[in-house]
Symmetry: C2
Subunit: 505 residues, 2 copies
């Protein structure tokens, strides 16, 4: 060999070594030797289909989608995604555990609305008469009323004589909706638009983190009265678990919000008296029914169970937490198999930081010890674009408080030492790609920091966060967005993430 040829060979060897070292922290690298020939072949096939569809599907012209590309804005690209072979294959893939989802946003909005329509007790109110001007801003409120308060007689929500905030039965309100606003169909569209985020909102009128959060939280206020009616809630839980299983999810661990003392929903008789423990009993009975059903069908390997993360909100004052701590401990004692952890939720950029609650949260540990229970913190932290902002600083507190996993941790990549700790202690990140994009932390998946986390050896569980609001039901959509945005990630890497999600639950 000439000296240049030797040099070149040496260069190529060093290059291979550098790339290998650069990727040596990745968790999926560790298992590479154990891969079967079938796994390698499946991975290769999907990569080929992805490459073919990058041209055939994503380079095509779509009249209503000006800039299609793999990993694009989900709400705009969704109609293309569902056409792809890659998506159809991913729907059949086992996804592991769903570790980050807010229970109140886990069931398809149309399904929930239909449940409401089937219940004569469900009533609706609006703060002002609905007309062409108020249609896009007035938010409905739902509630199951006791029989004596049922109202099928009132004037339509669209009548000038409608008394603001008066209750009308849902079915009646739908029937009487002004034909000029689309009649019943227009009513359906309006309600659904209040339960979900549409592309114009995410990418147009609400195109900043602050503004989209206003729309986002409004969807919870609207859904609340539908979900928190015991007869609906039972069906709601059943649908959440059923649809998760259908999407290949093996285990779910939703966060459940407890932020009103004692009660959590309206009973079948229209009275708001269902307690926190009764909510858990409903959850448990539906879960047991589903597990029994699966067993009867010989499908018990498709789903291993569910727990909840007891959550309350970051707008509470520290002293107010004590009641919820005691409540949580009591529930853990009664349902040790159902309570997986504790969290404080809500927009980190706006509400109190974890550091506001340090003393209380440290004391909660002692309360648990005294009660003989262990309820790990599983804390939201770093769901922000801020650098050194209070939401970003939450990462330090989540780590110091001993969080079991981190909810989101979007800004973690900025923190070398916190990254080290997460890697060394195997503190997994619950990464919600589509949520992050719609809530404007990233503009598309190729801009998402996920590859950084993976290359630094952080355990990642892909999660859907609030699929009813975003339309990313199950985990297939999030898996899809991740797969098409990186040449590193193939089926093998997705599989490793799915397995990791089970290990870190």
């Amino acid at each position: 060999m000439s000296s240049l040829a030797t040099e070149l060979a040496d260069y190529e060897a060093k290059r291979k070594e550098l790339i290998s070292k650069d990727r040596s922290l990745r968790l999926d690298v560790l298992d590479q030797d154990k891969l079967s020939a079938l796994e390698i072949e499946a991975d290769r096939l999907i990569r080929n289909i992805r490459a073919a569809e990058a041209k055939s599907v994503w380079s095509a012209d779509y009249p209503s989608i000006p800039h299609p590309f793999p990993g694009m804005e989900f709400l705009t690209g969704r109609s293309i995604i569902v056409q792809t072979e890659v998506f159809k294959i991913l729907c059949k893939m086992p996804k592991g555990a769903l570790l980050h989802a807010h229970l109140d946003a886990t069931v398809n909005a149309s399904f929930l609305y239909d449940l409401g329509l089937q219940e004569p007790s469900i009533h609706i109110q609006v703060p002002q008469v609905i007309n062409a001007q108020t249609l896009s801003t007035a938010l409905p409120k739902f509630r199951a009323l006791p029989a004596e308060l049922h109202n099928n007689e009132a004037v339509s929500l669209t009548s000038p004589s409608y008394v603001p905030d008066s209750w009308i039965s849902l079915a009646h309100a739908r029937e009487q909706f002004d034909p000029a606003l689309g009649g019943p169909d227009g009513f359906d569209q309006w309600v659904l638009s209040c339960l979900t985020i549409n592309p114009a909102e995410a990418y147009g009128t609400h195109n900043t983190v602050t503004k989209i959060w206003q729309k986002f939280t409004s969807t919870f206020r609207v859904a609340d009265g539908l979900i928190h009616y015991a007869p609906i809630f039972t069906k709601y839980i059943r649908e959440f678990i059923r649809s998760s299983i259908e999407d290949g999810i093996l285990y779910v661990e939703p966060r459940v919000n407890f932020w009103i003392k004692y009660v959590t929903m309206v009973n079948a008789d229209g009275v708001e008296n269902v307690t926190h423990r009764e909510l858990l009993m409903i959850f448990e009975s539906v879960l047991e029914e589903i597990l029994a059903d699966l067993k009867a069908q010989g499908r018990e390997d498709e789903f291993v169970g569910a727990k909840i993360i007891y959550s309350t909100l970051r707008f509470l004052e520290p002293d107010e937490l004590d009641w919820y701590f005691e409540d949580c401990i009591a529930l853990k004692k009664e349902f040790p198999h159902l309570i997986a952890g504790f969290d404080l939720v809500g927009d980190e950029n706006v509400l109190y930081p974890l550091s506001h609650y340090t003393e209380k949260l440290l004391n909660f540990r002692h309360m648990q010890k005294d009660a003989g229970v262990d309820i790990p913190f599983i804390l939201h932290a770093g769901e922000t674009l801020g650098d050194d902002s209070k939401a970003d600083m939450n990462l330090y507190d989540a780590i110091l408080l001993g969080t079991k996993r981190i909810g989101h941790g979007f800004s973690l990549v900025k923190h070398p030492e916190v990254m080290n700790i997460c890697r060394e202690k195997n503190i997994a990140l619950e990464v919600c790609p589509i949520s992050n994009e719609i809530l404007r932390l990233t503009s598309s998946m190729p801009m998402h920091p996920l590859p950084i986390l993976l290359n630094y050896g952080i355990a990642v569980a892909l999660c859907s966060d609030d699929p009813s609001v975003f339309g990313n039901m199950g985990l297939s959509f999030d898996f899809f967005q991740v797969l098409v945005s990186s040449e590193v990630t193939g089926l093998i890497q997705l599989g490793a993430m799915a397995r990791d999600s089970i290990k870190v639950r």
Copy 2:
């Protein structure tokens, strides 16, 4: 103290320690002890003004700007930025060295166009008649013609009888421009729109990396014939350096494209015969004139000099590089004080990767050694959203080839080992915040990976890249976008970056 109080005190101590350790790699941390009281006070003042303007300026309503926020899309937010006190202060700040700018995009587009208008030799051609339909797509070409080819008689570019690709004098074309298209004013607007990127293009019609690069490269084709006319070029260099000094820049190191053999521009007589070495002679004479001027005014501490990075393009075949290597070595021998390094430029996502040239680039090292010169590689790499794409892989090759700095390195944050190497070997990144945003690698500054780089201890030089196209003349705009997007970054941290830029030149 109660045991909880002790625990809390211990927690706070650990928290302080964790934050300090998390930031211990930052280069600006090292100098924190050396700060003067005045520096600390100046930093505090700017932080206060920034906080006040986040409310007063950025929370105000602007009829044409729906989502104002600090660090927002530059082309839309520019009119707000220039109103702020923070910007006015940053204009006066010493910025250190400008290490990444393409010479052909360093002078305000209006200034360049005015230089063209002053030259009777400058002619214009278009590939089709300009009318309301073709106005937004037809690109003009400019060129200085010899006296015998001057043409002040031809029909207007907007006349149906205009012969496509025929040359008309610029002044004549301007005067005769169809009044229905705005006459001379409409002509001015049209030419400037072809030299720059407007918000509608960056954030609307060309809102992906691929599409905006098409617009971006077209601006260079348009500007080319204006810049590369020796009488204009002399004034162009003067304006580039003069405006840089005015903005507080101490040293410039533009990349100069040599991609046609032998010649590089049109001479005063209209003949294309100015050689590469003659270009450098013009550059040198303007530089010396400016340095002498500054000295005469007692301002020699405001500017220490300029060099160029010899660049050619990544669409050349490997064998074609040999000519440019020899040319570069010859120039380095004649102008050792002017040639700072060598680079290959062009869209990394589309053109050849560095690995396509490995053998040639290794051989270039030997050629240099034989010639007794040292021309460091200063390579573009990782200017991409790709993960394991050829542009992303360029980072491995840039490092293995011993690059002195990295141009952009936008995707570096995904590569733990390459980050380590950059930190250990002090390989600085030439980070171009506004360029990255307009070319759609990030949607706004809060989404930019810069804080990750800084927290991992990577040396960063902030740069403007192509200010004539983006409108970010000088470095004040890029410094501004960085300052308002992070609570970590204050005047002290910006100052550290400015000082680093001088160290790594």
